[in-house]
Amino acid sequence: MFLARLTKRVGIAATTLFGVGVIVFVLLRVAPGDPIAMMIAPGATPADIAALRAHYGLDESIPVQFALWLKGILAGDFGTSISIRRDVLDLLAERLPATLELATAALLVAILIGGGVAIVGTMLRRTRGESVVDAANGLLLAIPDFVWALALVLVLGVFYPVLPLSGRVNPQSADDFATRFYLVESIVTLRFDKFLEVASHLVMPTLALALPLAAVITRVLKQALAETMVQDYVLLARLKGMSELRLILQEALRNAVGPTLALTGVQFTFLIGGTVIVERIFSYPGVGNMAIDAVINRDLPLIQGLVLAFGLMFIVINILVDLAVVALNPRLRHG
């Protein structure tokens, strides 16, 4: 059951990725903007330009270009970046861990804050406190990630400069890590000083991405909890003498969390989209930041590689959410 579901999802995922690949590939080539024009030195002859075009395979027809690209990918070759002149796969491997750590940290923080506020709000049902929570949350729902980013920069970077403003680590420590997963590595190797360094760089971009998602989680989860807390089995459990907190955590949460999970999956894809602007604001060396440069430079191979990387992330997230929903619901779990 579990496995069948997974296989099916992976099949769908592969198809989706292929579709995304086709669309992006074609769009990039029919849209205005010429990557070669961006890189030629002044005074290059038309022959030089034609040679460059041929070098990057841009002189072929679109279907032929696509076939060549696909063939390369299947062999593990994503092409060469036109603007950076490096292997696309290498660039992705270098940048993706940074974005994965940021996005995952943001997701966890969003779940903690959003879930925590939803539970507190539920404990405060029918009191003044609940109205305060609802009003504050309504406000937070209206603030997008980049506004958070700018506000955080102003407050924690400029007025009270307690946190580093840019990058993943201090410039001199980039060579202290064996992998690109700085945060994970610092935890696994128990290097506490490095962990603090990485974490302090993560705080602001993480919060900027997490707070809008937290507000959505609070809204949806609190609503679902309110509906669940009046179910017969919760009333019966209250009669058995369970505390309100225990009622929420043990009786209600598991049954209320379904819609929140599903929505978090969707919202998390927005969060990953948000990394583009937030990474830019904090000069955070992830794929989002690189995507902006790639687009500015019309770096077709790199954009294509990035889109596939983003697409893959979306798909993996949605598969994980799907599996989590099944895992939490005994009715689905047992078929």
Binding site: R126, D232, Y233, L235, A237, L239, K240, G241, M242, N329
Partner: protein
């Protein structure tokens, strides 16, 4: 010496602008006795049950009266003191077994919640006791049922589990609010017999809410008939079945077991009787106003 003594209990609905829901209800319940609460929909049966369990909705307000249980007035206890009694000395068999079990938790943990939380039993002891209880309510293969989730059990099985949970605490009083209406007719009979057997075995008193006078005749020692939140007739079941005093009770008995369904009743209750009942309610309300 009665276990529960409700005196002059009146309640109003704050939802419907203070309309009376209960009008001076009194009833007594001796240890080990089963009392039936009957009456048409809206008569106030569930309100009485909920008042005893401390589960009244916020929109229902008690205006008068007391409910003395083992020497303590349930209506004036703090919610903390009440929580010590409910779920342990007073428990509930709910109406709908399909919604009264948490779909996300195994039967074992739900059945033994009370034992662990209120009796402080270890999980091992609670589990052993749970298995005994499931056997007591005639569940075959209790081991499997303990591991099961609610959706794997039939309605009848679930209601047995809930009955086991209600009696697990050896309560003095069990409130059963229409415990069989959600079940198949064939299962209803078994569940009724089971409640009666468990009650006799544990010496428990039961408040049994039902629409069905046939059920009352079958399992209740005494019966209280309500209309508009007022007690219309009360007494020993056998006596009332033979010599009903109030015309409403007489009409209900004449209507047959499905008195609550005018379309299927043998002889529907005549409108003149309802007119008389409404006059009784009105005169009760006038008295209330006069005496404050």
């Amino acid at each position: 010496m009665s276990l529960l003594s409700i005196r002059n209990l009146s309640a109003v609905s704050d939802r419907d602008g203070g309309t009376p829901i209960l009008r001076g209800v009194s009833l007594d319940l001796a240890p080990g006795e089963v009392i039936g609460l009957v009456g048409e929909s809206g008569a106030g049966k569930s309100t009485i049950s909920k008042a005893v369990l401390g589960m009244l909705p916020r929109t229902v307000r008690i205006t008068k009266g007391s409910a003395i249980f083992s020497g303590r007035d349930l209506l004036s206890l703090s919610s903390r003191e009440l929580r010590k009694i409910t779920g342990s000395e007073i428990t509930l068999i709910p109406q709908d077994p399909m919604t009264a079990l948490n779909p996300g938790r195994r039967i074992e943990s739900q059945l033994t919640d009370g034992l662990r939380l209120k009796r402080g039993m270890s999980s091992t002891d609670a589990r052993r006791r749970g298995l005994e209880l499931l056997e007591e309510v005639h569940i075959r293969d209790p081991e499997r049922v303990m591991r099961a989730y609610p959706h794997e059990l039939s309605g009848g099985m679930r209601q047995r589990v809930l009955i086991a949970a209600a009696f697990a605490m050896d309560p003095k009083l069990v409130v059963a609010d229409e415990p069989t209406t959600a079940l198949d007719v064939t299962v209803q009979k078994q569940i009724l017999r089971l409640i009666r057997a468990m009650q006799a075995k544990h010496g428990t008193s039961v408040i049994f809410v039902t629409h069905d006078l046939g059920v009352v005749a079958q399992i209740c020692d005494r019966v209280t008939l309500l209309y508009g939140g007022m007690v219309v007739e009360a007494g020993a079941t056998a006596e009332i079945m033979e010599r009903p005093r109030h015309p409403y009770m007489q009409a209900l008995l004449a209507a047959g077991p499905r008195y609550d369904r005018p379309d299927r009743a043998l002889a529907p209750v005549p409108e003149s009787i309802f007119a008389g009942l409404r006059e009784e309610l009105a005169s009760f309300d006038r008295e209330e106003v006069r005496h404050g």
